[in-house]
Amino acid sequence: MVSPRPAGSQGYVTEAEIERFSHLAYAIRHRVASPRPGNHASRSPGPTGRFVGLRAMGDQADLRRLDLRASLTDPFGLLWIRQHVQDASGTVTILVDLSGSMGFRGSVDRHAVAVSLAAGLARAVLRSGDRVSAFAAQGDLGASALVLPTRRASAPAEIASALAGMAPEGRGSDGLLEAARALPARPGLVFLISDFQWPLREVETLLSALAPHDVRPIVLGDPAADRPDGRFGLAHLRDLETGRRGIALMRKALVEAWERRATDHRAGLEALFARTGCLPVFVDGQIDPADLFAGLMAGGRT
């Protein structure tokens, strides 16, 4: 499944660059369930955290949480123990699309952007105390697990090198669909890194497969593809997924027609995300970690 990339293209992202993502904040909408303290609202009882009620003292009561006032005012003299649910850590899944179109090289190398984003998000997830797992899918060639849920500090680097070693190949979203169906049934946060260059129907199928989860689509756009400059010339276009070729006589009128289509597709995506309750983050061209931070907070574009 993993096709090697020619040597020399390794190391898309450095440790320092990964580190720039470490302060990204995100929230998981579902209540996580984990005995391990973390940053997300949970249903797991713990010594501190959100107060959920009182319980009559039993065998395993923590006497340090004895509620004096409730115990004193109790007409039957029962001792009451305060109950809390503590913020717990969750599991965050990073799904990376590596279909052919992710190999686009316009104003940025889209593959490199995906690698940096996946590694950076993994670092941010670890820094938040959550577990990270990552899957990559090469179009219809199938999905492969890069990292299973882990808190290893080396996970971001592992993800980066594994992703850098895979060439963007294949067409469509079947691989991602396969990865989505293989995710654990327990709801979790899923970062879906893709350019979403599929028909909207296909995107919708993928999103419904991911419906149990809190999906944050990270849409990689590129002004070079959406709004190429209208300079006159001949561009021999090759579709990165279907391989269909054609020579475009580049000029203003043609480029404007293309831009309209790209805008329509983007609008369709936004409508679809709104309908399915996903908060997308749009990354057009370079990643700016600060913008990404804001985007993750607001669910908007960078």
Binding site: V13, G103, S116, D226, A235, H236, I247, A262, D291
Partner: protein, 342 residues
């Protein structure tokens, strides 16, 4: 006919498919062509450009193979005939029509005949002409041919001095025998130009009848009559001897009439009369004739190379207009550097 000098080059013709496999323009990856459809001009260019490459390769290979049209002869129909000019080269032809040595004012019969025959040849572009000459013994100067120059050169030799005698019988035999049987369809004629005649022996007469029987020809006798000489049409008066020896011209005329082929005799006492006679022959011998026109070999590699050069020029222009990327800006690092962060 189309032929090649080095047909081995044609083995390279499958290379013409190369532009369809290896495109001229370097491909630019596009994430989703469905969002970037081609408009009509682009589609035309998409089809035309590889085609142009294929054309360039094909033309170059055809040029290298030495495509040419072979030399050939085209059969055309014109008006004319196959004519043998049978010219008397006896010394009497050097005299003028008055029977004297020509001085400055007069032309000799040979010179007049030469001039007028030369014009005649010029007037009839589609004729096949041959020239035979005779004095004592006949000589086939030029077999039937399309080459005007050589015919006129043969006629021009009439400027030289003639020889002694007039052996018209063997001359006729040679001229009639000069027609090849293959071109029997065309009108064939022997034009005998002479100023006298000789006795034709019985054997030669029999030979001539035999020849004419096998290959019918039209006969014209242009008799350049010297002033005072007896006409060929003149019936001798009762006292005169009417023998071939006494009146060889009259008896040749009678013999030719008896051959059973179309025959006409013209008598000319001066160059105007010769001209009139030749004009008449001109009109009489203007029947449709199939003549063959040689067409020289035509090398086509010039055109081919020009076509290939034009195609290649267009391809070079297309290559110059090639865009390697969709944007003119240089490619950026995936992450915006910290110092540039907004």
């Amino acid at each position: 006919m189309i032929a090649f000098d080095n047909p081995l080059w044609l083995l390279g013709l499958p290379l013409a498919a190369l532009p369809f496999v290896a495109p001229v323009l370097a491909p630019v990856g596009h994430p989703r062509r469905a969002l970037a459809p081609l408009d009509t001009p682009s589609k035309v260019v998409s089809i035309l450009l590889p085609l142009l490459g294929a054309v360039a390769v094909t033309l170059l290979l055809l040029g290298l193979a030495g495509l040419h049209r072979t030399d050939q002869t085209i059969t055309r129909e014109g008006r004319g005939a196959q004519l043998m000019l049978l010219i008397d080269r006896s010394s009497s032809m050097d005299n003028s029509f008055a029977g004297r040595r020509p001085d400055g004012a007069e032309e000799s019969k040979a010179m007049a005949a030469r001039r007028l025959l030369s014009d005649f040849v010029d007037r009839r572009p589609h004729d096949r002409l041959g020239v035979a000459m005779f004095s004592t013994s006949p000589m086939l100067a030029v077999p039937l041919t399309d080459h005007r120059t050589i015919v006129k050169a043969a006629i021009a030799t009439m400027g030289e001095h003639g020889l002694a005698q007039t052996n018209v019988g063997r001359g006729l035999a040679l001229a009639i025998g000069a027609f090849d049987g293959a071109t029997a369809k065309a009108s064939r004629a022997v034009i005998l130009v002479s100023d006298g005649a000789g006795v034709i022996s019985r054997e030669v007469q029999a030979n001539l009848r035999d020849l004419v029987g096998r290959e019918p020809v039209n006969l014209y006798w242009l008799f350049l009559r010297t002033e005072g000489a007896k006409s060929i049409f003149e019936v001798p008066t009762s006292g005169e001897r009417d023998t071939p020896q006494a009146r060889p011209e009259r008896h040749l005329h009678l013999f030719l009439q008896s051959l059973g082929v179309p025959y006409r005799a013209f008598e000319a006492e001066n160059s105007e009369a010769v001209e009139a006679a030749i004009d008449e022959i001109d009109t009489l011998e203007a029947r449709p004739i199939l003549y063959e026109e040689p067409v020289p070999r035509l090398d086509l590699d010039g055109f081919l190379n020009a076509g290939a050069a034009l195609s290649i020029l267009l391809l070079v222009l297309a290559k110059l207009a090639q865009r390697d990327r969709l944007t003119s800006a240089r490619m950026l690092a995936p992450i915006r550097p910290a110092e540039q962060a907004r």
